[in-house]
Every structure is written in structure tokens, then in C-alpha cells.
């Protein structure tokens, strides 16, 4: 065991955060204020998500941390190490083996189960913020269900770009009541939010926690003549050939070479191990065989 209290935060703080989480689960989509602590990392690096994870972790849990779908990027690696050191919990890169998954800006491709918890890192929890700068006013709008302004944002999108161009942090309405910012996940992930796992959202700098209980109704806002569309790059993964996953576009060289790969690294690895192969991976291995001959 380390010299830290289990999962870094003291027990009183964790109780306070758990109360906020329970309140958030009782009122899906409602932003519960909480006394966010300073964490040993800068704001914007997931201080909210880390506090929610710390309050949720038990010694028996297995933790997975992803950043934009990947297990091996800086943010994911350092948060995983942080909890290895301060909580001593087991960690994994496999979606299916984790009981708590902290995520930045993605939902794993694999369907989550009822015994799993997904923790989001949230930069700006208030979906109305960019149109209404006053917090007093936005709170009033939430309490009176005045959400016309959210559609003004979508209207502006269509007027400017001919289609709803918002492609991430796409606003949703929860259980027909609160309009919620799903954190900057791509809108491709929005339909997945009606899931079996508990979803918790933590915003450290803004001091807000909100939550979605399992199987909660989550509807993406849209217009009758411009319905919501969960879009992704129109391509298959060049590594594993998946056509149903969200893709990252990777620039390969200066002459326009590019490849599309699954943003969920665990999903891609799993598929390749199961024998699936994408176009560029197949070409590369063919070239390798040729040189060997």
C-alpha cells in the first residue's frame, strides 16, 4: 500500500462526491454542484473525471482509462498510473474486463454491461453556455425548461453550413426533461448513450457532476426536416477492416497518403487478434512477405 489514502482523496471528500453522484443519478441530466478539489494535475486534464473515479473505486475494481478511444496516450497513461499508485487497483486495457472505465471524449465500441461504470471527463458542462454567458440565466432556463436557445445554435449551423455541423458535444435531451452536454464525444457516440452501464460525468474546474442511470432515454436534438445523424468517416478501418467503428484519420506522409483507423484501440486490437484485417494492413503484410521471399 502507498502512503496515500485509498484513491488519493480523503474519505470525507469521497462521501461528498458520492452524494453528488447519487443526486445526479436521481435527477438524470441535472448538473449537481460539488466542492471540486484541487488534484495533482492541471484543469483540463480530467480533474473532474478523476474525482468521480476516485469516489467510485473500490479495492476490488478493475480500471480502464481511455483518451479519445486510445489506452496508450499521455492522458490515459498518467491517470491509469495515478490510480495504480494511489489506490493500488488492477488496471486493464480490455473493455470487457474493466469494471470502471474513465474516458475522455469517446464511448468504447464494445457494448457495456450493467456491472460497469463509465466516467466522463467534462470540460464545459453547460450546453447553453456559448449562447447565454450568465450562469444565473442558464440555471433559470434549465429549471423552467426553456430550451429554445439550443435550437438557435442548430439553426445557425444549418444557415451557415447547410447541415447541422456540430459534430461533437452534440446536445441531448435526457428523459424528456434536461438538456445535457454529453461532453465532447463525437455525435457518432450519441445513440450509444442509452446503455446498460451507469454513466457519470465530472467537470472539475466548473464543479459540476451529472449522471445517466442505466437505460435512460437520451434523445439528440434536431429539426424535423434536418434529423439527427450519427456520422463517421465513410471508410472501413485500414487496420482491422471494421465498418461499424468510429475512425481517426491519420496523415501518413507529405504526398497525401492517409489511413483511417479505429479510434478505440482495444476494439481494433481485439478484431485483429480474431483474424480480421484491413486494406492497408493486408497490403503491408503482403509487401513484407514479398521481401522475405
Amino acid at each position: 500500500m502507498s502512503d496515500y489514502n485509498f484513491a488519493y482523496l480523503d474519505e470525507q471528500t469521497k462521501r461528498m462526491i458520492r452524494r453528488a453522484i447519487l443526486k445526479g443519478l436521481a435527477i438524470p441530466g441535472y448538473q449537481v454542484p460539488f466542492a471540486s478539489r484541487e488534484m495533482p494535475m492541471p484543469y483540463g486534464w480530467g480533474t473532474g473525471g478523476v474525482q468521480v473515479s476516485a469516489a467510485t473505486l473500490t479495492p476490488a475494481d478493475t480500471l480502464k482509462v481511455i483518451d479519445q478511444g486510445a489506452d496508450d496516450t499521455t492522458n490515459a497513461v498518467s491517470i491509469r498510473k495515478f490510480f495504480e499508485k494511489t489506490a493500488g487497483v488492477a488496471t486493464t486495457e480490455e473493455t470487457g474486463a474493466a469494471s470502471i472505465i474513465q474516458t475522455r471524449h469517446r464511448i468504447p465500441e464494445e457494448d457495456l454491461r450493467e456491472d460497469q461504470i463509465l466516467v466522463y471527463q467534462v470540460p464545459i458542462p453547460e450546453p447553453l453556455r456559448f449562447l447565454e454567458p450568465s450562469e444565473i440565466e442558464t440555471r433559470k432556463m434549465h429549471s423552467l425548461e426553456e430550451y429554445g436557445l439550443m435550437h438557435v445554435k442548430l439553426y445557425e449551423d444549418i444557415a451557415k453550413h447547410g447541415a447541422i455541423a456540430t459534430s461533437y458535444a452534440y446536445p441531448v435531451k435526457v428523459e424528456g426533461r434536461y438538456v445535457m452536454d454529453p461532453s465532447p464525444i463525437p455525435k457518432f457516440d450519441n445513440p450509444k448513450m442509452e446503455m446498460a452501464a451507469i454513466q457519470l460525468f465530472g467537470a472539475g474546474r466548473e464543479q459540476r457532476i451529472y449522471a445517466l442511470p442505466p437505460y435512460c432515454k437520451v434523445v439528440s436534438l434536431d429539426f424535423e426536416d434536418f434529423p439527427f445523424e450519427a456520422s463517421k468517416a465513410d471508410h472501413a478501418c485500414d487496420m482491422c477492416g471494421a465498418t461499424d467503428s468510429y475512425l481517426d484519420e491519420v496523415i501518413m506522409d507529405d504526398s497525401g497518403g492517409r489511413m483511417f483507423v479505429c479510434s478505440d484501440t482495444d476494439y481494433c486490437t481485439g478484431r485483429r487478434q480474431a483474424g480480421h484485417i484491413g486494406a492497408q494492413a493486408a497490403a503491408a503484410s503482403a509487401a513484407l512477405e514479398e521481401t522475405a521471399v
Binding site: 449562447l131 429554445g148 438557435v152 439553426y155 444557415a159 426536416d225
Partner: protein
């Protein structure tokens, strides 16, 4: 005929100072009421009390709802009052930037009230917005421009379009022509007069410009130091002022 708005004994105090005191009047459908007075006479305080922006200490503001019942908007719950101010009421601010969203396109500004009451069809909202821009003489090529790219007079006309798009029954105007040059003022007044007559609107216009009320208002209320000193038909009050202050006010206007 029953009044659309019945104001009874409205008083508003700022600490020990008087904002406005014991104001009574009825406003009938289709009628335009002017409130004139010098700066600090309490006319804006009164207007804000009527429109629900300020809470008067004493008095009632009874408004005829769509079902015909008279409801006191002072004691009404906030959601109901905010609903009224999105549907049956409109408020035109002196400075257009107070009443517009400067970082949203003209079409979005006009469409906001429609979306606030549940319109969810982009094509219809846009068509409606363009129609209203036309009615306030703004070209449909400007529909996607932001108000910050508009002239002062255009901003004011846009504000009027944004307010009238949901077909309100009562319009509050606070110095609608303030800060505009005279030729732009004249065109704006002409436009407002046309819209008021055409839509059968009732309106309460606060101004210190007697020419504005002469053109628009059916009835006039003169305020001084928070009190109403004289009321009557516009022409009657302006042509035959009885109260000493009204006489001063009328004679202060330069006759060209």
C-alpha cells in the same frame, strides 16, 4: 368592450425614493398608449413594472389571457410570466443590442421566439424569418448576417421583427427611436404605425419625443417625479395642455 390590460395603483419605490406612484389606467385592444415625461420621471420604471422586469411594491397589473380571464401578472408564477413574455407580449428596447443576440444571425434572432414556443421545422422557421425581415424592410439577402453588421436603424427594425414574429397582443416599447437620426426615425415610425394598425396591436410606448406620440399614440399619459400629472387623448393633451408641466413640455418643442 373589456380592457386588455388593467393597471391598478402601481407603485414602485427605490428605498425611500419614489420610482412611480399610484398609476392607474386601462388599455383596450388595438389601442396605443404613450407615456411621456422628462428623464427620471418614472416612465421606464413604470414600463418595466408592467412588463414584469421589475416587481412593484403595491398594485396589480391585470392582463386578459387568451381564455378571456383577467390575471394579475405581478403575482403570477415566473414560468407563466416568462411564457407570456415569449408569446403574447413583446418588448422593444431602446438599444437594439439589449434586445438582440449580437452573435446570432438575423434569421436566428427572428426564429428564436418561434423555437422557444416549440417550432422544430427548419424550413418553416426560415421562411417565417425571411417573411418578417421583408415586412420590416430588410432584404432577404441579409438573413444570414449578424446584427453587428447592420446599421442602427436596421438593428432596431430587426428587433421589432424578432418581437412581432409570434403575433403578440401587447407590445411594450422603450424609446424605440432613441439614438436614430431623424430620417431613419421617420421611416421607423411609419413602419411601426403600419404594423400596429395592420396587426391590431395594443402598445405602450415610453418616449420623451412628443413627435413620436403624436404620430403613434391614441392616448397620452404625462409623468413627472413618479406621478401621472395629466392623461387624455393625444391631440387633446398636446394641443390644450392643462397641467403646468405639460404646458412646459409642449412649449419646449421647437416648432420648425
Amino acid at each position: 368592450m373589456t380592457p386588455l390590460l388593467k393597471v391598478e395603483n402601481i407603485s414602485k419605490f427605490y428605498g425611500r425614493r419614489i420610482g412611480c406612484k399610484d398609476v392607474n389606467f386601462d388599455l383596450y385592444p388595438g389601442e396605443v398608449m404613450g407615456i411621456v415625461g422628462e428623464s427620471g420621471s418614472g416612465k421606464s420604471t413604470l414600463l418595466n413594472c408592467l412588463a414584469g422586469h421589475l416587481n412593484p411594491e403595491i398594485g396589480e397589473v391585470l392582463f386578459e389571457m387568451r381564455d378571456g380571464a383577467m390575471r394579475d401578472t405581478v403575482t403570477m408564477s415566473e414560468p407563466e410570466r416568462r411564457m407570456l413574455s415569449r408569446t403574447d407580449w413583446a418588448f422593444v428596447h431602446q438599444h437594439a443590442r439589449d434586445g438582440l443576440r449580437m452573435n446570432v444571425s438575423a434569421g436566428g434572432n427572428v426564429g428564436e421566439r418561434l423555437m422557444a414556443v416549440g417550432a422544430r421545422h427548419y424550413g418553416n422557421i426560415r421562411e417565417n424569418a425571411i417573411d418578417w425581415l421583408g415586412r420590416v424592410e430588410i432584404s432577404d439577402t441579409r438573413v444570414d448576417d449578424r446584427p453587428s453588421q447592420f446599421s442602427g436603424g436596421m438593428q432596431q427594425r430587426l428587433q421589432i421583427a424578432r418581437n412581432l414574429v409570434t403575433g403578440p397582443r401587447l407590445v411594450f416599447m422603450d424609446e424605440p427611436t432613441g439614438g436614430l437620426d431623424v430620417s431613419v426615425q421617420a421611416r421607423l415610425l411609419d413602419l411601426v404605425r403600419g404594423l400596429v394598425r395592420e396587426m391590431g396591436l395594443s402598445a405602450i410606448i415610453v418616449t420623451h419625443d412628443l413627435a413620436v406620440v403624436r404620430l403613434l399614440a391614441d392616448r397620452l399619459m404625462v409623468m413627472k417625479d413618479g406621478h401621472v400629472v395629466e392623461t387624455g387623448l393625444t391631440d387633446q393633451v398636446l394641443d390644450d395642455p392643462q397641467h403646468a408641466y405639460t404646458q412646459l413640455l409642449v412649449s419646449s418643442v421647437l416648432q420648425v
